[in-house]
């Protein structure tokens, strides 16, 4: 079993960057696994593996990108604005909003920063 570092080029004009590693019995399977492991969310346009120093590219760039709608697995596939408004409306209609005290938008401290400064003073 060999570990193959996986490389990507984000855009046509990008350099190769390492994005991870796959375990595979040989380079052909490594290339297949590399696509499924690291290119599902449109991360890049070119995929390659490092086979003991040799960079082996996925020959057909069309294999690197999706061909049918995959918006369901990226953030852009979830425009939440309209749904948030619809939920607000529904809650108002039902009159069920729970109006208890909560942090004000303008009154929020960065908790991590303050906790650390407390520690260094202690």
């Amino acid at each position: 079993m060999t570990r193959y570092p996986v490389l990507q080029r984000r855009r046509e004009d990008s350099d190769w960057e390492t994005v991870g590693v796959v375990h595979a019995p040989d380079r052909e399977m490594a290339l297949g696994f590399a696509l499924h492991s690291f290119f599902r969310h449109g991360e890049g346009v070119h995929c390659a593996i490092d086979d003991d120093g040799e960079i082996v590219t996925v020959t057909d760039p069309a294999d690197v990108v999706a061909h049918t709608d995959k918006s369901y697995r990226v953030s852009a596939g979830y425009p939440l604005g309209p749904k948030r408004r619809r939920a607000e409306q529904r809650v108002a209609e039902l009159g069920v909003r729970i109006d208890k005290p909560r942090p004000g938008v303008d009154n929020r401290r960065d908790r991590s920063r303050d906790e650390q400064s407390d520690r260094s003073e202690g």
Partner: protein
């Protein structure tokens, strides 16, 4: 970033220099010198994280078959797939520290290692899918974001990638929540009932209010923030959201105090957490057996992929799940 520690210093001095390095924000690579305690704690922490990603996949996976729309069927599959991928990447970090993947998977399957308690609980409805996708995941994202500045550099790099993929999970989770909250009375009830069941496990997830001086993981900066800090951040982010949707939280004492700018809340029974963490929680045995069954039947496939077969010793029988 490579270590600045000089090799000729004695162990105590080296360790002190290491602590200073990490406590002032420095990082180390897997092949840098590190104190034994650091390595041991890091492996344990990271292994548990990877195990949780793998086991977290199982409750959600059960709903792929039952998803009520084509798009949700795909998106749930994709989310579970991402979690498996995260497990993949996080196991790699522990491997680079010295524990092999086959040992980690075998230990997980034989009940010898732990994973986060929230993944031991059964799912009962689509409400659970929404709660896991929004609140449970939300809790995980808070802890993962805090790990972006962990002292172990390869772990930080993986967290960067994990957090990037989690952005789709967060939006997906909120999408699920909003649909139920603005849906039929039955859907709203489904959501409320699920929140009522998952709240305590989520409180458990953040761990007890361990003070800084007792928190070894914080000492080494493997973790970067206190458990309570992260839990308070969770309250800030999700309690107002739920209240705005008219969803109540099953903790009478949960309240925001403006003067101290903090939330008071009821600490749950940590006994339940200890039991669950040591492998006796509801559904644990089922899930562990499930994974074992899968491996038994298909051991040849691992061999074909040139991977070691897994040790298939069955766990000693436990009390009924």
């Amino acid at each position: 970033m490579s270590t600045i520690i000089e090799p000729e210093q004695d162990l105590e001095a080296r360790t002190a220099a290491f602590v200073e390095h990490v406590q002032s924000g420095g990082q180390v690579e897997a092949d840098d010198w590190m104190p034994e305690e650091y390595r041991t704690l890091a492996i344990k922490f990271i292994e548990m994280h990877a195990n949780s990603e793998m086991m977290g996949a199982l409750p959600e996976r059960e709903w792929i078959a039952r998803a009520p729309s084509l798009r949700r069927k795909m998106s749930l599959t994709a989310k579970v797939q991402d979690e498996v991928g995260h497990g993949h990447m996080i196991y790699r970090v522990a491997e680079d520290l010295g524990k092999s993947r086959v040992d980690m998977l075998t230990d997980l399957m034989n009940g010898r290692t732990k994973f986060h308690n929230v993944f031991h609980y059964p799912t009962k409805s689509w409400g659970d899918v929404a709660v896991i996708g929004s609140l449970v995941d939300g809790a995980a994202i808070i802890t993962q974001t805090a790990l972006l500045t962990t002292s172990l550099a390869p772990y930080a790099r993986v967290m960067k990638r994990v957090c990037a993929e989690e952005s789709f999970h967060q939006r997906h989770g909120e999408d699920l929540l909003l649909e139920l909250a603005s849906g039929t009375p039955a859907q709203r009830e489904m959501l409320q009932e699920a929140v009522d069941r998952w709240w305590v496990p989520i409180m458990h997830f953040f761990g007890p209010k361990t003070p800084a001086e007792k928190d070894r993981l914080l000492h080494w900066r493997i973790k970067t923030e206190l458990n309570e800090t992260l839990r308070q951040r969770f309250f800030d982010r999700y309690v107002p959201k739920l209240w705005d949707l008219g969803i109540s939280i099953p903790d009478e004492a949960l309240a925001y105090d403006a003067a101290s700018d903090s939330w008071t809340w009821t600490e749950p029974s940590w006994d339940e957490l200890r039991e669950v963490a040591s492998g006796n929680g509801p559904m644990t045995a089922t899930r562990l057996s499930w994974r074992i069954w899968m491996s038994d039947a298909n051991a040849w496939a691992r061999e074909l992929m040139d991977l070691p077969r897994l040790d298939l010793t069955h766990p000693t029988p436990r009390t009924a799940a």
